[in-house]
Amino acid sequence: MNRTTLRRLAALAALAAPLAAAPASPAALPRDVQARIEAGRPARVARVERDLRARAAALGLGAADTLRTESSFTDEGGRTVIHLVHLHQGARVLGSQLVVHVEQDGALRTFGHALAAGIVLPGGPSITRDAAVAAAQVRLGARGPLAAEPAVERIVFPTRFSGARAFELASGRSSIHRGYAGPLAGLAPYVWAWRVHLQVHNALDGAADWSFVVHGDTGEILRADDLLRRATPAVGTGLGWHRGPVSLDMSQMNDGTYALLDTTRGTLPNPNLSYYADDGSGWTPTGMQVWWEEHDATGASTWNSFLFQGNASSAWGDGQPFTSFGAESGPNGQSAGVDAMVGLRTTWDFFGSVFGRNGLDGNGTTPYATALCTGMVPAGDSWWSVGAFGGYFGVGTWPLLADGVDAPTDLDMVAHEATHGVTSPSWDRYFVDSPGYEEAGLDEATSDFFSEMTEIWAARSGSDPANAIPATPGDGQIGRTFLRTGPLRWFDRPSRDGRSVDGWFDGVKYMDGHFSSGPLNRALHFLARGASATAGDDTHSIYLPAGMAGIGNDSAARIWYRAVTEYLVPDLTGGLTYDDAREAALSAAADLFGAGSAEAAAVEDAFAAVNVGQDHAGTVHAKVWFKPWRNGDYIEIDHIYSDDAGKRQYFPRGENVRPRITVENAADTSVTWSVGGPSMWNGADYYTMAGGRIEADGSWTTPFQMGWHAITATSVADPTQFAEGRAFLVNLDMDSDLEQDATDMAELSYSWYLSNGLNPSHSVFIAPWVDDQDVSTFVDAMKAAWPVP
């Protein structure tokens, strides 16, 4: 690189820095005032810690409990936001945390999910750290080597957070998945546990990034969370990722060649790249960078990856779709690297310039991208790894396949993935992104929305301030070029993709987050741009037929950014809901514009337009939902697999039954029934079925297929209101007399504590063992199927 080029790059970097021409937000303080307040942040954190220590007893904390500051920052309005986690005997209590707001005048406010009070848990885990890692590795089932040393943490685990999708039976015999089937037997409210983080990237296993909670005494896997953030699986289309000529920040290495390594962005090393040894080339894990996955000439991945480097020139790429397998580091492959770099850089700059955020995670941690993937991520897909703090972007399948998909390295796709780095900044704080949690939809929609805002911001004119988002409309799409026949997702009417939903319903949680994102995508789109009052328009909502006026991109983005960074704080349990999102947005709007402001009213209307809460006028809709009905039975108390264990219903297979449903806010409480539901067409849950025959009045002849079945009830009074629920079908005929009756329960006694394989048919789940899940489910299914009036 010559000196002229270096000077030019330096000048471009200066241009990219935030401008101070306009206030950062309606509530933003002058920079000198904000700097003074920021300087006092450590003292405020210390004061909060002192105050909380003094109030420990009132908070239900004992001598063994402490609160540790996990992070803090001062927002643009001068509020100090402190995130504290709860420790018991020095170990984190999963999900127990506090968020404290310290206003400029010193006023304190705490909120968040409740602290776990009254923990009595002497001693510690009886199994070793290594034993916990071994148990996690068995569950992971990796055949190849780990990508990094396992990260292990001793924790206190509230057993009500048990459950996740990892509870598949792996006995090698015919059995069913009972991931959501019922309680774990005999767990106390709190147990010692080890939290184990495992990552693999290799040819045998592909890419995996999991967090496991391992019982500290038994080695049982209590919870498993997938930390990879996957984009929508590609369903055939093409590739076209030209960003055109761009300027790039890069590095000239020790040998004089150039690398896609931008040391101007990133002040902390990347947690995954830190495992690589310094090779003396000038490479560092600190600084945004783009890598590529290696293939042979046939396109088979070698499962090696390398930094884009060794380029004799500072010019990268040929601007063409990738076809040059075996020569990924050449000009053709570099084009994908350029796109990925532009996407990461733009997202980083967007959050920094508009919100004053230090990088993606708020701490300046280096993100990185790996492009041209076929192994670490499928060719037509992209993922964000929370643990690796990086994105993996497929090579695409077009133009090698005429009906293939573009490489997902266009700005909106990269910005979507990189926004996961904002909402899930580390494996100590991430949104749970699995089907079964509404939080997954909130996570994906947040990435979609800020991707759109990043695009709009990046396309601003030279006269627009860099610290504000222009009012220009975006394309309203995610993956605009990806499918080559249309985008992946729409904001104005998400159901245009045939898979997403336009409004919230009880059961939206069962959908894949990329499709349960629909309601929030639409709400935020309406908040920014408004909704039509004309039926048939894509922006017309049946829940808000009169429509609404938008408050503009900038105000909408500031409200939602504040909501997700200051109010909607994940606690590792997946407990955030659409109602929480509405409340968080209202709190953020009240902070920024006032509780009685037009912006706050617009938040109410925007969420009401997707069937979440009442609109500003207070319109009440009928509510159809699977109301918790268990009233504190064994399945609900202390053995909760998920937060809706109280509402799930168990039935015997092949019988005529009647599911429960609740309708509120309507004089006519009747419903019509159907099998299946919206979650069935999004490909999210491989285990849920839609079977049997259900009459409109709810008389359901259950099929013989065991496992989870989806059923949907729709209000007769208001057909826009419906709920999708889950019923688990079990086999009660354990004595094989073709009759399901109470006598079958005797088989549980036979089978109690028999080892695997002796009496697998004596489990109502056809599992290779019998335990209290069988007992409670048997009792439940009898009561549900054949109630005594």
């Binding site: 005797a746 549980l748 009898m782 199927a785 005594v788």
Partner: protein, 201 residues
């Protein structure tokens, strides 16, 4: 207009009234079967004038680990529930919890009202490590009442039918047994239950 009034009046009668001129029953009288050494359904002392509680009693000295019964009641009789809403009550003979767990674990007691007015009920020791118990006591209870919607005539004889009853025998093998030998022992003992006479009063 008169026709409409007449039709409305008939509809009300059909829904709520009993047309028979004979007095309708409001209570159930039960006479126990003869005392034998076998299994019997006997009147439980907790019965009241309007609610008949029957207990399933086994032969003294016979050790079992649980019992289930499918009991069909005739038209005119309906099954009732006990505290907790279940249509069966534990007699207190069997240990319905396992040895290991605390008081919150689910009890092995189940009941449901199946098609044909058949109550299927059972109580069991779910933990095979518990010792078998003497069956010569009330093992479970069920409750019956007059179903007023069916207007049973006072004095009419009714028939209770045990469609099936079975018990877990004492010997259910050991976990150390060979699987084939163990499997042979994992079979219920079918029961012949004597039922008394039932009269609606």
């Amino acid at each position: 207009m008169r026709t409409q009034i007449l039709v409305a009046g008939l509809a009300a009668l059909v829904v709520s009234g009993c047309f028979s001129s004979a007095p309708t029953a409001s209570a159930l009288a039960y006479t126990d079967p003869p005392a034998t050494s076998g299994w019997r359904l006997v009147r439980d002392p907790s019965s009241t004038a309007s609610r008949l509680v029957l207990g399933l009693v086994g032969p003294a000295g016979t050790l079992t680990r649980g019992v289930g019964v499918n009991l069909q009641a005739p038209r005119g009789v309906r099954f009732g529930t006990f505290d907790g809403g279940l249509a069966v009550e534990d007699g207190g003979v069997y240990d319905l919890r396992s040895l290991d767990d605390g008081p919150e674990e689910p009890l092995a007691i189940a009941a449901g009202l199946k098609k044909g007015n058949v109550l299927s009920a059972g109580v069991f020791q779910k933990d095979r490590r518990r010792p078998a118990k003497d069956s010569g006591a009330t093992l479970l209870r069920v409750a019956l009442e007059v179903d007023p919607s069916t207007c049973p005539a006072a004095g009419s004889s009714l028939t209770l039918t045990v469609l099936r009853a079975a018990a877990i025998p004492e010997d259910i093998g050991l976990t150390t047994d060979q699987p084939v030998a163990l499997a042979r022992k994992l079979a219920l003992t079918e029961l012949d239950v004597a039922v008394g006479t039932l009269v609606a009063n």
